[in-house]
């Protein structure tokens, strides 16, 4: 299109420069295209292939782990080919862009969408105002769900933080066995809630009274002359039996965090208190607890967040039968059992609303740290 260049700069003609730029552009465009095509093909292959699982597995790992790296490498090279001023403006987005795209697709858009769904009917076809929310707060069934969640939060937070604190103070005094003892109590933290449910399901197992018990708790019951208890059926205790599993899982976590804080209490402070004649209980309540107060609050908040969203234990053990339903489990059932997307979404929004103060304080902390 352009005329043959007549001028030349030194030895290099404009044609040469144009050729070189074109070549670079072609290379830097073709490589990404090939990369995308290759990834897309492997994606189709993984989705539709009837090949052996091991082959798919290898492709999956190579693409999943390597592919992302190649994408960054390729887009970065692409940007490096552009003029300097352009490059410096574009580069940050090469680094931060993919993360923002993922966050928008996987969290921002869905969150907005779920809020909309919560104002719609079962099949998300018509707007129904606040009726899903009125349902949650008036239906007797749902009130039990809310009651259970509150029960879970109060008992789990209370017991895990309380027990964690007591154990943290105790293990501080046993010398060289301390870390072994901490490990043993921390171990359940590594176990999935599903695994823990099986472990405790076995503890709770009940056989008819005339047969030998294989569940430890009912063996104790029977030895003491009582009847075996059906832990999951008895409405007076089934919620507590489920809650105990979560307490077992999380106490170790609380204990380890609190223990670090207890070790941070200045020795001089403890000694001063003891010299003033305080006994160990007063030292505990009047010195240790006030000093580690902020740690206790942090731990309690963390446990609160985990308990609020409890799902697995209830889903595996009872799936909400006999008045043991909790919010996250009911949400799952609304979605996948009753097919009511409006109510399910309203329950998800409820979880978000309860977490809003924590989200707010996280952002506020960030602002303060920026200033400070």
């Amino acid at each position: 299109m352009s005329a043959e260049p007549k001028k030349s700069w030194g030895d290099v003609s404009l044609a040469d420069i144009l050729q070189r730029i074109t070549l670079r552009l072609v290379v830097s465009l073709i490589v990404p295209v090939i990369t995308f095509v290759a990834m897309w093909q492997s994606f189709i292959f993984m989705r539709d292939s009837e090949a052996s699982k091991v082959v798919i597995a290898v492709v999956a790992l190579v693409v999943g782990v390597g592919g992302v790296w190649i994408l960054y490498l390729v887009t970065n090279n692409l940007v490096e080919q552009t003029p300097v001023s352009f490059r410096d403006a574009l580069r940050p987005y090469v680094f931060v862009g993919p993360a923002l795209v993922v966050l928008v697709i996987y969290l921002v858009y869905p969150a907005v969408n779920t809020i909309v769904l919560s104002f719609q009917d079962a099949r998300s076809e018509n707007f129904v105002g606040f009726s899903n929310y009125t349902y949650i707060f008036t239906e007797p069934d749902m009130l039990i769900v809310l009651r259970n969640n509150i029960l879970w939060i109060i008992t789990v937070v209370g017991f895990t933080v309380g027990l964690g604190l007591i154990i943290a103070v105790l293990v501080d005094r046993i010398g060289r066995w301390e870390s072994a003892a901490k490990s043993l109590i921390f171990v359940p933290m590594a176990i999935s809630a599903v695994g823990a449910s099986v472990i405790w399901g076995f503890m709770y197992a009940a056989k008819p009274a005339n047969k030998p018990q294989i569940g430890l708790l009912n063996a104790i019951n029977v030895t003491l002359g009582n009847d075996p208890i059906l832990y999951m059926n008895d409405k007076a205790i089934n919620n507590f039996a489920l809650i105990a599993i979560m307490i077992w899982l999380l106490t170790g976590y609380c204990m380890v965090v609190i223990s670090a804080a207890v070790k941070g209490v200045p020795t001089e402070l403890l000694e001063a208190g003891r010299i003033d004649g305080a006994n160990e209980f007063r030292v505990f309540f009047n010195i240790i607890i006030p000093v580690i107060r902020s740690t206790l609050i942090t731990v309690a908040t963390t446990v609160f967040i985990m308990v609020l969203k409890v799902f697995d234990i209830v889903y595996v053990m009872t799936n909400g039968r006999r008045d043991t339903e909790v919010v996250a489990n009911r949400m799952f059932n609304e979605f996948f059992k009753f097919g009511h997307y409006g109510r399910g979404s309203a329950l998800a929004v409820l979880l978000l609303i309860v977490l809003l103060p924590i989200i707010y304080s996280n952002v506020r902390d960030l602002r303060e740290r920026r200033k400070g």
Binding site: L73, P110, R173, W200, I214
Partner: protein
């Protein structure tokens, strides 16, 4: 003078007190450790007993001396092959490894940009990341499932990797940013003066320096994904046994073999073995990872 004497005697008294109180405290702690381990020990012992023994006598009777201990690995054989736990174990590895590596990669690039690059909207986007850290993933399930249905991603590994990437990303960016932003400015500047491009500085300098925080997050995310049930049920489905990971497989066994404790005990232990190995092999990182993850909403 008198003050220092008092201090000495005070110290002495508290040492005496410590020794005196040590014995009962030790006993209490020992008892607690015993109680805490008991449920897991019962599961382990039962998983290596024959089915007839498990279902007729309690595992603790072995310690009374009355019961013979008939060791067997048959429960494990049965649950791994006949019940498909081996397949589920493979699936768990396939789901978990990319679900850990992809978010770390994406987050590391983003954290580096947030920490060391100037661009419009930086503070706004970072505040957004911190906010999203507290948003429960429950808010995302149905919309993402609908997107997946429309592009045929439901029930695929790719689908669940990306979902775990999305859900783990805010925490990963937050943690990595906290670490990468504390790298001394002089180091970053000297890399620039040496002619390193930002990409080279990132791969050659920032990533190697960030290994400790990456390890902490990796362990947290690995356990999170390995132990997850909800995300797996939603995106891999409840009705396709071939795609079950260990947790959804174990849940299915609870439903179908609820009274067959020989299946459940062995199955449960198989789901626990990798996390327990990581716990005992990398205890220091494990605890750090758990602490790091505690800011997640």
């Amino acid at each position: 003078m008198s003050v220092s004497l008092q201090t000495e005697s005070g110290v002495q008294r508290s040492t005496v007190q410590a020794v005196l109180s040590a014995a009962p405290v030790r006993i209490v702690v020992l008892l607690l450790c015993f109680l805490w381990s008991l449920p897991t020990i019962g599961l382990l012992i039962s998983s290596i007993r024959p089915a007839t023994d498990i279902n007729s006598t309690g595992w603790w009777t072995l310690f009374g001396g009355g019961q013979p201990f008939n060791f067997t690995l048959q429960n494990y054989e049965a649950v791994l092959s006949a019940e498909g736990m081996a397949n589920a174990f493979l699936n768990s590895l396939l789901v978990t490894i990319p679900s850990v590596v992809i978010p770390i990669t994406v987050a590391a690039f983003a954290a580096y940009a947030f920490a060391w690059m100037e661009f419009p909207g930086r503070d706004f986007f970072f505040a957004g990341v911190v906010m999203l850290m507290g948003v429960p993933l429950h808010m995302a399930l149905i919309p993402i499932m609908r997107i997946y249905t429309s592009i045929d991603l439901n029930g695929t590994f790719l689908g669940i990797w990306l979902a775990h990437t999305g859900f783990g990303l805010p925490l990963a960016i937050y943690l990595l940013y906290g670490y990468i932003s504390t790298i001394p400015k002089e180091i970053m500047e000297s890399a620039h003066i040496d002619g390193a491009s930002p990409f080279t500085a990132f791969t050659q300098l920032v990533l190697p320096l960030s290994v400790p925080v990456i390890a902490s997050f990796a362990i947290f995310q690995f356990l999170w994904v390995w132990n997850d049930l909800l995300v797996a049920l939603v995106f891999l489905g409840t009705d396709n046994p071939d795609a079950f990971i260990v947790t959804s497989k174990l849940k299915e066994l609870v439903g179908s073999k609820g009274q067959n404790w020989e299946v459940l005990t062995a199955g449960a232990f198989i789901t626990m073995i990798v996390p327990l190995f990581i716990f005992f092999a990398l205890q220091r990182y494990f605890v750090r990872g758990m602490m790091a993850g505690s800011v997640k909403g």
